[in-house]
């Protein structure tokens, strides 16, 4: 189709000026966008409030969709589970997988018990859930992997809290609104979780690769002890995630660790649990100590 004649400005001065103004405005807009982009890459948290307001407004629609998803799980499984080939016996496979995760978690618990007995006097923090929420959306067309859950500040959710599902860790809360929260999924390229092998104390960092898998980087470099099939659980280092939540299973060995498959596929998850930050007491004590010192001075 030919473009409309309004673009052929000929010698009409006013029309020429209009076209020129359009270009100037669009150019200025692009520059404005570039400036915002630089700001948000340097300080990613700058525009969070704005985003959360928008998310709060749109979340009821997402929630309605999530309710519908429960009924038609298989359709969306087929769409979203693009990477899972041969899903004929997916149901059985899933059950076997959960059993394997449980086994690995039990093994991890046994180890944890032994270690705790060795270090008497430290009681584990209370891990009763803060809230139960639906996973109502994710940035499914962007490389960043950010999800939305249907619980926010009003339900007691705070930034940093871990999000888990029955099959393992999903991510952590990035930002809270009144009724919804943004969640940094484990597969996001900015996400990093301290993990250890469930059978021993091989510690590593799990980084997201934004394609449904994680990259495990060993902390102690040397001979790579990881074998395909090894299950990794959170190590509790850093105080954010409690220990022994299943994270990933190693699939392919690399030079400094492994590529691991995520255990809790968010696509198959309906309800998630928001857990409290594991070592909240310690961080609170530290901050109150600091406040006390400041008051003494």
């Amino acid at each position: 189709m030919a473009p409309p004649t309004s673009r052929r400005t000929s010698s009409n001065k006013r029309a020429q000026l209009g076209v020129f103004t359009g270009y100037v405005l669009a150019g200025l807009g692009a520059l404005f966008g570039a400036a915002l982009l630089i700001i948000s890459i340097m300080r990613p948290e700058t525009f969070n409030g704005l985003r959360m307001m928008a998310a709060d407004v749109a979340s009821p629609a997402g929630e309605a969709g999530a309710v519908a998803r429960t009924g038609s799980q298989n359709v969306f499984d087929a769409i979203a589970g693009y990477y899972r080939a041969g899903s004929r016996n997916a149901e059985l496979e899933k059950e076997a997988e959960i059993a394997r995760i449980r086994l690995a978690e039990a093994e991890a618990l046994r180890q944890e018990n032994a270690r705790l007995k060795a270090v008497l006097g430290i009681t584990e923090a209370d891990t009763s859930p803060v809230a139960v929420a639906r996973l109502i959306g994710s940035t499914s067309s962007s490389v960043r992997r950010i999800g939305y859950i249907s619980a926010g500040r009003d339900d007691g959710v705070q930034p940093g809290m871990p999000i888990t599902s029955p099959t393992g860790l999903i991510g952590r809360v990035l930002e809270t609104g009144a009724r919804s929260s943004r969640v940094l999924l484990l597969t996001d390229s900015e996400s990093m979780v301290p993990v250890r092998r469930s059978t021993d104390n091989t510690v590593a960092f799990a980084e997201g690769r934004s394609d449904g898998s994680l990259r495990l980087r060993l902390i102690n470099l040397g001979i790579n002890p990881i074998k395909p099939g090894d299950v990794f659980v959170t190590s509790g280092a850093g105080g954010l995630f409690r220990p022994n939540i299943a994270v990933a299973v190693a699939r392919q060995i690399t030079r400094d660790g492994a590529i691991a498959q995520l255990l809790s596929n968010p696509a198959a998850t309906d309800f998630v649990v928001v857990e409290p930050i594991w070592q909240r007491e310690l961080t609170n004590q530290a901050s109150s100590l600091r406040a006390g010192e400041a008051a003494a001075e």
């Binding site: 359009g22 807009g29 692009a30 982009l37 499914s140 067309s141 490389v143």
Partner: protein, 185 residues
Amino acid sequence: MMETLHPNARRDPFGSRINRAQSPLLAYGLPWASILLGSLTPWLPIISPAPVLPPLGLMMILAWRLVRPGLLPLWAGVPLGFFDDLFSGQPMGSGILLFSLILIGIELIEIRFPWRSFWFDWLTASGIVAIYLVVAGLLSGLGLSLDRLQILVPQLLLSIMLFPFVARLVAHLDRLRLMRVRRIS
């Protein structure tokens, strides 16, 4: 009298020509509303571990711009990009920058190739979506290695295959846009 001879004598595809006029709100608002709706894909109940859905907001812009040239102003990338950034998960500003550049780019393509066919539009849209996905990926922290860029391939193929459908949808919306719904006395 006319109606008894020919029932559609005083009608055109957009409705009765007597006593009815197009609504400016519908005629100018529908393109914007449909693009904004396309930007809301993150609220679809699809939780994917990898990027799979096409950037529907961008594809709606492309379709409106290519199917009905001259409707979107050249600066439309700024507000539409801002809205897209609110939900897409990209760093704020990437949508504003890329959408603006894309609209300027289409303008230049149109000056260079004034007469275009559907196939050429499809090619244009595919090229633009491919560039957009790669640049948006780089802006949000995807490494520049071949291995990393592979995760964009399914999304890109889906986008290219989906463009004719989006263009057809926009063509239908374009007819809806010009319906004579306003009663004038």
